[in-house]
Structure formats: C-alpha cells, structure tokens
Symmetry: C2
C-alpha cells in the first residue's frame, strides 16, 4: 500500500481513537499527518469515506490481534485474546465508544456491516480455537451472547474504569465457562466441548 | 392523545414490525390506517420523525411489558419478563432486527439514545426487582452483560428460530444466575444478592 496513504490512515485512526468522529475534520487529519487537505481528499474522497476506511483498518487490526497465538489450551488463549482486545479498546477508546454506544449521526449501512463482520469473524475465531466445526444452535447462541457481553464490558470499562482490567478480563473468561456450563445442560455438543476444555486445563 | 394520531402510530408500528424501515413509506402508513398522506405529515412531519415516534412508542410498550407484576421471587419474575420480552421481539420482528443488528452505529444520535435509554431503564427495573439500591461496579457490569446477551439472543432467535423459545428463555434465566455466580466470586455485594435470590427460590 502507498506509504502516504498509510500515514494519513494512521493519523486518522489516532484522531478517531481520541475524539468522536463528529469532532474530527479533514483538516485535523491533514495537519496531524503533515499533509495537505487536498491529499486527504485525493486518497479518501471525503470525511465519510475516510471514516469507513479507518473503521475497516481498525477492524483488520483487531482481528489480527485476536488471531490465536497457539493451538492448545483455548481458555488461556481466550484470556490472552481478551487482554489484547482491551488493549485495542483502550487505544481506540473514543472511536470504540462512539461506534458502539449510539454515537454519531452515521446512517450508512456499511458501518453496521463492518461491525457485524467483526462479530462474525470473532465467532469463527473462537469456534476454530475450540476446534468446533459446526456449532449447533445452543453453542451459537452461547458464543454470540458472550461476544455481546464482552463488547458491553468494553464500553462499560471505558465509561467507568472502576473495575481493574485484569479482574474484568478474568471475569469475562469465567463468564465464558459459566455460559458454556449452562449450554451444556441443554445440548450434548456444548457438554462435550466444555468437558474437553476443562480437561485440557486440568492441572 | 388524539385518536387519529394513535391509529396512524399503530399502523406505523405494525408496518415497521413487519418490514425494514427503509421499505415503509409514508403512503404505506397512510393507506394502512385509511388516512391521507397529508394527515401523516400533519401529525409526524416526515418519515424520520414518524420512525422516531414509532420507536419511542415501541420502547414505552416494551417497558410497560417488563414492569414487574409482583414483588417476590425475582428469578421467576425474570423468567416471566423474558417471555414478555420475546413476545415483543416476535411482534416487532423486522423493526427489532433492523434496529439492533449492526449496532447503534447505524442510527442517528436520537435513535441511539432511545435504544440506550431502554437498556438503562431495563437495568434499573432489574436492580429494583432484586432490591439493590446501589449496584457496585461488578454487579453493574454483570447486569449490563446479561442485558446485552438477551438482546443478542433475541436477534439470533429472529434469524434462526432453531431453539425453542421456552428453552431459550430458560437458558437466559440460567445465564443470569451463572453470571451472578461469577460476579459473586469477585464482589461481596453480588455474593449476598445471589444468596438472597437462591434462598427465595429454594423449595
């Protein structure tokens, strides 16, 4: 990719991370990157396109961070993935909060699609890490519920920061086990999966 | 409230429940209510205002349905509340899915605020029902996570309908207990609350 474009994108991501998109102008991005306004328009077309491009780039970054680092012990991998997730939330604080908590007057369906795309790919990362090929309905609902609760915990943490991050991350791993335990009572696939996970993590 | 306005609103809610807002026109609403296009404009001003008014009305309806019917046994009340929640989801299927899939990034600030307002009032309904005056951080995160997972389960059910509703509703009540159990390991307020809840439901 073009180096100049990358510099503009980095500047945009940094600004969207610190301020609500409504308070970031093309001029701000240009001046943060030491570029001209015209160059930003040249590469991105306009503010909305720049925002969408920044969002795609942030989504790709998040997914890269969450890619599992190893094959065994999925619950430890999950714990480490959560730490990297919260690093991301922290780095993109304003953008994350604005995007997910009812923020800017952005009507484009494109943005919703990017957000849902990330959720879907997270879902597949988790099932792959847990070595599940075809998640049945109960496992699907369980994992989607967990992903939603992680997102909400991220928003809550940005708003309040009154639970220590490590404790919050631990709680969310425990949530996963607790939700799977509930699912295990409803579905043999989840029951087998949970037994396998716990066996792998037995001392 | 004006009867004519109420009829228009009922027609709008019915249409927004069956079709994505993008596929509902002022003419559709007028003709469903046996009214003129001019009357819809008279009462609501335009499509966006009509949509926002319908959303407020649906939010008020949801909150009325979720208001607890009795004081004791909060977990049973929660189970019954979930049944009424899923009745609502079913009745407003298209509108609910369109509103919540993709997240609030899809909407104007006003709409995001209505959605967040419903979540906040749900939160307070639940804490009141559980007789908690001041939810601490761990309880707050736990309940917000649960509310998010209920919303996601509602969306998932509309998409797939491959788990029976009663089983899904039972799972979600079990999720609440499971998440509180996790929270109890991190915070004495949650621990006391959970013991109280379980004692109240002991045979």
């Amino acid at each position: 990719m073009d180096r100049r474009r990358e510099e503009l994108m980095a500047a945009a991501l940094e600004l969207f991370g610190r301020r609500d998109a409504g308070n970031v102008s093309i001029d701000d991005v240009a001046s943060a990157a030491g570029a001209s306004r015209a160059l930003v328009y040249h590469y991105f077309g306009g503010k909305q396109e720049l925002y969408v491009a920044a969002l795609r780039s942030a989504a790709a970054d998040l997914e890269a961070r969450l890619r599992p680092r190893r094959d065994d012990r999925p619950l430890e991998e999950l714990a480490e993935g959560l730490t990297r997730y919260f690093d991301f939330v922290e780095q993109h604080a304003a953008g994350f909060a604005a995007l997910l908590s009812g923020g800017p007057a952005n009507h484009s369906g494109e943005i919703g699609e990017i957000v849902d795309g990330v959720r879907n790919r997270l879902f597949h990362l988790i099932t792959r890490q847990m070595r599940v090929d075809e998640p049945g309905p109960v496992l699907r609902v369980t994992l989607r519920a967990w992903i939603a609760s992680v997102e909400t915990a991220g928003l809550d943490w940005l708003e309040h920061r009154d639970v220590e991050r490590p404790a919050l991350e631990r709680m969310l791993v425990e949530h996963m086990v607790a939700l799977l335990r509930v699912g295990a009572g409803h579905d043999p696939q989840v029951d087998r999966l949970l037994r396998g996970l716990l066996r792998e993590h037995a001392p």
